[in-house]
């Protein structure tokens, strides 16, 4: 049974009357890698800052190891933070940046000795592969190196929890991937709880034990990366995590859903008879077959070559789907599709229904595709407005 370390209980936050967090309840286990994921403005950074003590929640409580810490200032909390833009001290060199927390620290009421500080700093620089950089000016380091100094500076204090606020946001793609592995490795070797904030769903899926998807100051779903991807709770989560076609459906009975007037077998149960639902079909779960064998038939309207796969847009009775396939079907051709029962996921209707999951706006998202024939309808412009 994992031990609970941090609990946010009924936390709300409002700035000048604007609600940023709405009654948030969340617990974080010891040694867990938990990611707060969501678009900008969803409240994820605010949540992190409340845990760090930089912002005081308008209402609600924060508990650390069972103790209420609402009134504990940041410098007395057992957490350390890796800031978005590193926030390194430009007037200090690498060694002094990392030693900053140690010089303030008291162990058994005594300051640490010089040699103690030096050995802990060099040990930590070793962990982040920056040995030999002690005397360097932080401004002379690359983005990735500065990032690692920031991580070392936080970790050297042996916090119970490390808070990371979009720490890889400023790095290029290649470096991000390396640092993701690096962070995961550091988390596993140190056994420190990581609370990680990002808007990058791939990053969240690749690194986390637990993903918390947030939007509009509300937690939309908490789960393992697999849960979040395979069993999204609503249209927002389905759309935000990976690509999703989301269509209206109607549950006839357990395991039978009607889409576009046709019944499909699925694995989902527990809905009311004839309940209207959102149906998620991932682009990679659709098989392309001959028209005569297809459960549905549609017309290919767009093709984008993605290297390993083609992204194709298929028009089914005016509703456009994204399908990922290795087989090329030319634009204008009629195709049939087949979906296995485990490729269909049923969700309850939510405030996000009808807002996401329609690829009619596909050409707007990818400007390398020309889709001149398409006339946007009402629901689509609403979706576009939501995204921007």
């Amino acid at each position: 049974m994992p031990k609970e370390l941090i609990r946010l209980s009924d936390c709300s936050m409002a700035f000048d009357g604007e609600v940023v967090l709405n009654n948030l309840n969340l617990y974080i286990n010891d040694k867990e890698f938990l990611t707060l994921l969501g678009p900008s403005g969803c409240g994820k950074t605010t949540t992190l800052r409340i845990i760090g003590g930089f912002q005081r929640q308008t209402s609600g409580d924060v508990f650390f190891d069972g103790v209420r810490i609402n009134d504990v200032p940041p410098h007395k909390r057992m957490v350390n933070t890796v800031f978005q833009k590193y926030a390194l001290f430009t007037h200090l060199n690498v060694f002094e940046n990392v030693a900053f927390g140690l010089r303030l620290k008291r162990e058994d009421g005594k300051k640490l000795t010089k040699s103690d500080i030096a050995s802990r700093v060099s040990e930590m620089l070793d962990i982040v592969s920056l040995s030999g950089f002690e005397k360097r000016d932080v401004a002379s380091l690359s983005g990735g190196q500065q990032q690692r100094v920031a991580i070392a500076r936080a970790l050297v204090n042996q916090p119970k929890v490390l808070l990371l606020d979009e720490p890889l946001g400023a790095l290029d793609m290649r470096l991000r991937k390396d640092m993701q592995n690096e962070l995961k490795r550091i988390q596993q070797t140190t056994g420190i709880t990581f609370v990680y904030v990002t808007h990058d769903q791939e990053e969240a899926l690749a690194m986390s034990d637990t993903v918390v998807v947030m939007e509009k100051g509300v937690i939309q779903q908490i789960g393992t990366p697999e849960d979040i991807y395979n069993e999204p709770k609503n249209a927002f989560v389905a759309d935000f995590i990976g690509e999703s076609n989301i269509v209206d459906g109607c549950m006839h009975s357990d395991g039978v859903v009607e889409i576009f007037g046709r019944k499909f077998a699925c694995l989902d149960k527990g809905f009311a008879p004839m309940e209207h639902v959102d149906v998620v079909i991932r682009p990679e779960d659709v098989d392309i077959v001959d028209v005569k064998d297809g459960m549905l038939t549609g017309t290919v309207t767009n093709i984008t070559f993605k290297g390993m796969l083609y992204d194709i847009i298929v028009d089914f009775k005016g509703f456009k789907w994204l399908i990922q396939t290795t087989d090329l079907s030319p634009v204008g051709s009629k195709i049939g599709i087949k979906i296995d029962p485990d490729g269909i996921h049923i969700m309850k209707k939510s405030e996000f229904s009808g807002v996401f999951g329609d690829y009619s706006s596909y050409s707007a998202e990818y400007d390398d595709i020309s889709d001149v024939e398409y006339e946007p309808d009402g629901s689509d412009s609403e979706a576009a407005a939501y995204e921007t």
Binding site: N80, F83, F100
Partner: protein, 270 residues
């Protein structure tokens, strides 16, 4: 027209109003009235050693007082709401929009033996203070006139410190006092340095303040130079030599201060 042509007016201005006077000062300093080369003008400066010492001493005292008053003002100001900051910055600059002479005259009527200050002291039954025509009055005049030039650069440097650095320091266990001493203060030193320059240089060469508040009892370098050019002692050659030596000392002074300030102290421009 190439962009560099736009610099012609500036270069012309510099040549006429900056380079030419300096060249003239050089020429005057090394020649006699009849135009012969000489070092005698510099030899005469030895006689003015006390003026040099006094000038630098008073300017340094004024600069230090400006730091002691100006730094807390700048720091507290930077913590205020933006609206209040703008208002206070305007109030700090307001005196600068008034005539320098008028402002200093105002201090005369405050510090005079029968001035506002002494009348107030008499009113509350305290003994009179003799301030006017002393070095104290001169230092008060310097601090009053040049204080904004200390506050504003410090304020603008503190404002530019990334707020996340302060959060990082707190996050790493620094109580508020340590956040100041370990992060804010070291990062604000460039502002202090440029403030020191902007106060010290005009203070060391002032003559209006000494004449109005020092009443001719306190003679500083500015007065000495002015006397050589406009006064009864008319001798522009000695005056130029004094000006040149003063410039040299100030440049050395600034250079040393910049070195002391380290790599960050580039705001002074030497």
């Amino acid at each position: 027209m190439k962009p560099k042509h736009f610099t012609i007016p500036y270069i012309g201005w510099m040549a006429v109003f900056v380079v030419a006077p300096i060249v003239l000062i050089f020429v005057y300093a090394f020649t006699t009235a009849s135009g012969e080369l000489t070092l005698a003008n510099f030899a005469r400066i030895a006689g003015f050693a006390s003026v040099f010492v006094n000038s630098f001493r008073l300017a340094l005292i004024a600069t230090l007082i400006c730091i002691i008053i100006g730094y807390p003002v700048a720091y507290i100001l930077s913590k205020e709401k933006m609206r209040i900051q703008r208002l206070i910055v305007m109030l700090i600059m307001l005196p600068l929009w008034m005539n320098f002479l008028l402002r200093t005259y105002a201090w005369m009527s405050i510090l005079e033996n029968t001035g506002l200050l002494n009348r107030f002291l008499a009113f509350v039954g305290l003994p009179m203070l003799r301030i006017i025509n002393t070095q104290v009055a001169v230092v008060i005049g310097m601090v009053y006139n040049f204080l904004p030039f200390m506050i504003l650069p410090i304020y603008s440097v503190i404002m530019k410190i990334d707020k996340s650095l302060l959060e990082a320091a707190r996050d790493l266990g620094a109580p508020p006092l340590s956040v100041f001493s370990k992060v804010v203060f070291p990062l604000s030193l460039p502002g202090v340095l440029s403030g020191m320059t902007m106060v010290f240089v005009p203070a060391v060469s002032t003559f209006v303040i000494t004449q109005l508040l020092g009443g001719g009892m306190v003679i500083l370098l500015g007065d000495l130079i002015e006397m050589q050019f406009l006064g009864a002692a008319f001798n522009p050659h000695v005056g130029s030599a004094v000006a040149l030596v003063m410039m040299f000392i100030v440049i050395v002074f600034m250079y040393v201060m910049n070195k002391f300030g380290g790599g960050e102290g580039r705001t002074v421009g030497l």
